[in-house]
């Protein structure tokens, strides 16, 4: 049943994700078993009936994400969870969610890749796919990267709020380490949360107006069966929300729609776009990381500080849209930037772009494991001497 008291409990990251989703009002979950994300589906299967929600195991990940889109239009807050191989399959559906402005949450518990890779080993390999995976310059995905079970909990709730407010898919980019880690999670009382609910209110028979494309404005979303005779299309649509016809100025219509889909995300004032920092005030060297990787970064930085080095770290909680301005302000007076990520280099290029030409950026790649504190300390010593 719904949580009444605030409580502190030991939870696995994946369990925290499922519990947070239910607390946020998720009432539809569709998924397909995949390591290391399966525990989310298992917990949803047992907990959804407690709150009168729907759990279904679909035939594959394409079916999972597309059924989530159907469920969302039928009026439910909806979610799916997967790992890399399934996330690749879901890109088609994510594109449909972007185009039809369907709120939904997709959890990607990243694992070692490409292809099967190694199901029980971690990686931060889907950073670019999470943003650019779907075809056609689809860029409305919001991507959040949690670094602990508590943060998985908090960001899953945030993900639902953002999805509902901005009518867009939101991706929680977890990874095998945080997903399988067990830590204390503080579960707030439901009254303590501010939960976003969907704006459905439109008078019946207000044909087409629901799907207006205008600047960064977000239209209400009446549910199916509400008498509005909705025409929800993955096809290009006009400003009135009507299917665009070849006789119209298609390039112009398309430019308006694509700008609308992009602008509503970038111009929206939302709190999740944040960077968490440690010792940022006087640091000459900054380590940039996100997700599980930031855990050893933090211990390395603390140790370097104890040794008297002016080192700090910044953790990207929102990966996409990339928090360029905040990062730029943060790195303005820094001599050296060290980007730590569990891949061969994904976010590092974005950081280089922010730092600009001439800036010193070192990349510390790693595959399948966290960086050791000593390894990072060695790297810090090399650049911060």
């Amino acid at each position: 049943m719904t949580q009444v008291l605030r409580k502190s409990t030991l939870l696995q990251g994946n369990e925290a994700c499922a519990d947070a989703a239910i607390l946020a009002g998720c009432r539809y979950f569709a998924g397909y078993p995949i390591t290391p994300a399966t525990e989310i589906a298992e917990r949803m299967a047992s907990r959804m009936p407690e709150v009168g929600g729907v759990f279904i195991q679909m035939e594959d990940e394409i079916a999972s994400i597309t059924s989530v889109i159907g469920a969302s239009w039928a009026g439910a807050k909806a979610m799916t969870a997967t790992s890399g191989p399934g996330f690749s399959l879901m890109q088609e559906g994510i594109g449909l969610a972007v185009m039809t402005e369907t709120p939904c949450v997709v959890v990607d518990v990243q694992r070692l890749g490409p292809c099967q890779g190694f199901a029980t080993y971690p990686m931060q390999g889907d950073v670019m796919q999470a943003r650019w995976g779907s075809h056609g310059d689809s860029r409305s995905n919001i991507v959040l990267a949690p670094a602990s079970p508590q943060e998985i909990f908090d960001l899953t709730i945030e993900a639902f709020n953002l999805a509902e407010r901005l009518r867009t898919p939101v991706i929680v980019l977890s990874d095998e380490i945080v997903a399988h880690m067990r830590e204390r999670v503080i579960i707030p009382r439901i009254e303590e949360l501010s939960l976003e609910s969907r704006k459905e209110a439109v008078a019946p028979n207000s044909e087409f107006k629901f799907h207006k494309v205008s600047g960064s404005e977000i239209s209400p979303m009446p549910r199916l069966g509400s008498g509005n005779r909705l025409n929800i299309v993955g096809h290009l649509r006009t400003e009135e929300g009507r299917v665009s016809m070849p006789s119209q100025n298609v390039p112009q219509v398309a430019f308006k729609l694509l700008s609308h889909l992009a602008d509503k995300i970038t111009t929206a004032e939302w709190e999740a776009r944040k960077i968490k920092t440690l010792f940022a005030e006087d640091s000459r060297t900054m380590l940039i990381s996100y997700g599980s990787t930031s855990r050893t970064v933090e211990s390395a930085v603390k140790e370097a500080r104890r040794a008297g080095m002016k080192v700090g770290c910044a953790r990207l909680v929102t990966l996409w849209p990339f928090p360029e301005d905040q990062l730029q302000a943060l790195l303005k007076d820094v001599d050296h930037v060290i980007v730590v990520e569990m891949n061969l280099g994904q976010i590092v290029d974005k950081v280089r772009e922010v730092v600009g030409p001439g800036g010193r950026v070192t990349h510390v790649p790693k595959i399948g494991d966290l960086h050791a504190t000593e390894e990072l300390l060695g790297c810090i010593k090399k650049v911060a001497r």
């Binding site: 009432r27 035939e59 009026g75 008498g227 909705l230």
Partner: protein, 275 residues
């Protein structure tokens, strides 16, 4: 005087984008007539379609809630809708490529789950929207744009697949049998479970041109009538005699528990066990 079914259509969108002589309009008319005959509240109908000529016609032009989505994915989208709101009348419009090729597993699993929806398949035995390529339902030997030396593959029987997968209701007719087709759709709409109605429809532009060397709808309709055999007749024919024939009629009409309803019942049971 306006057409009696025009109330279900968006007249200001007409004419449609489809070719002259296309059979998809006949199938759509049979669907709308069945909805009208059964006095189903159109505001509680959700139409979900994938990609193909049928999808272009059946969403938008119809003034009902409709989703024009991804190739082959109408079944899982409809599944999500039905599970969240079992009171909706969910209609999946699909084609032979949409359901027999790219969406095959979704089609089979929707039938297996016996989720309450009508799946109306517009089978024109060809890929029409993309310009006349071979489909999994195209007869052997047919010359198409992607089988320029003749199709070597055996065509797929969508109705027997639906039957094997566990659909509650399965029927096949052609656009030369509009009354029977309407009756089957009416029956399918009344079923509590997964219903599959296959409408073999004429594509004069490609299928007619390739197989019958005619782009006249009437020639294909006559060909449908000549080549159609009832289920009863088909039982007397050997496989050689049956090759190239369209078996028409009602293949399955059974009553079994529907998924969304079962799920709601399970929610109500304290112990969560059900039989």
């Amino acid at each position: 005087m306006s057409h009696p079914l025009m109330k279900y259509l968006r007249e200001d969108w007409m004419p449609t984008l489809l070719c002259p002589g296309c059979g998809d309009g006949t199938v759509l008319q049979c669907l709308l007539r069945a909805i009208d005959n059964k006095k189903i509240d159109i505001d509680r109908v959700s139409i979900v379609a994938g990609i193909g000529c049928h999808a272009r016609l059946g969403t938008g032009y119809v003034a009902a809630d409709s989703m024009w989505t991804l190739h082959g994915r109408a079944f899982p989208i409809a599944t999500g809708i039905k599970l969240v709101d079992p009171s909706l009348q969910v209609v999946v419009l699909t084609g032979d490529g949409d359901c027999g090729s790219i969406g095959l597993s979704h089609f089979v699993h929707a039938a297996r789950r016996n989720i309450g929806m009508l799946a109306l398949c517009f089978n024109n035995s060809i890929y029409g929207m993309t310009g006349g390529q071979v489909a999994p339902t195209t007869p052997r030997g047919t010359i198409t744009k992607t089988t320029p030396y003749g199709n070597l593959e055996y065509p797929m029987d969508l109705c027997s697949l639906a039957q094997t997968a566990g659909a509650s209701y399965v029927a096949r007719w052609t656009t030369a049998h509009p009354r029977q087709l309407t009756m089957s759709i009416e029956k399918a709409l009344g079923k509590n479970g997964f219903s599959f109605v296959e409408a073999v429809t004429q594509c004069p532009t490609y299928f007619g041109k390739y197989t019958l060397q005619s782009t006249k709808a009437s020639d294909i309709l006559r060909w449908f009538l000549r080549n159609s055999v009832s289920i009863q007749q088909s039982k007397k024919l050997n496989p050689e005699q049956l090759a190239g024939k369209i078996v028409i009629g009602e293949f399955v009409d059974v009553t079994k528990l529907e998924l969304a309803e079962q799920y709601q019942l399970q929610l109500k049971k304290k112990d969560g066990n059900w039989k």
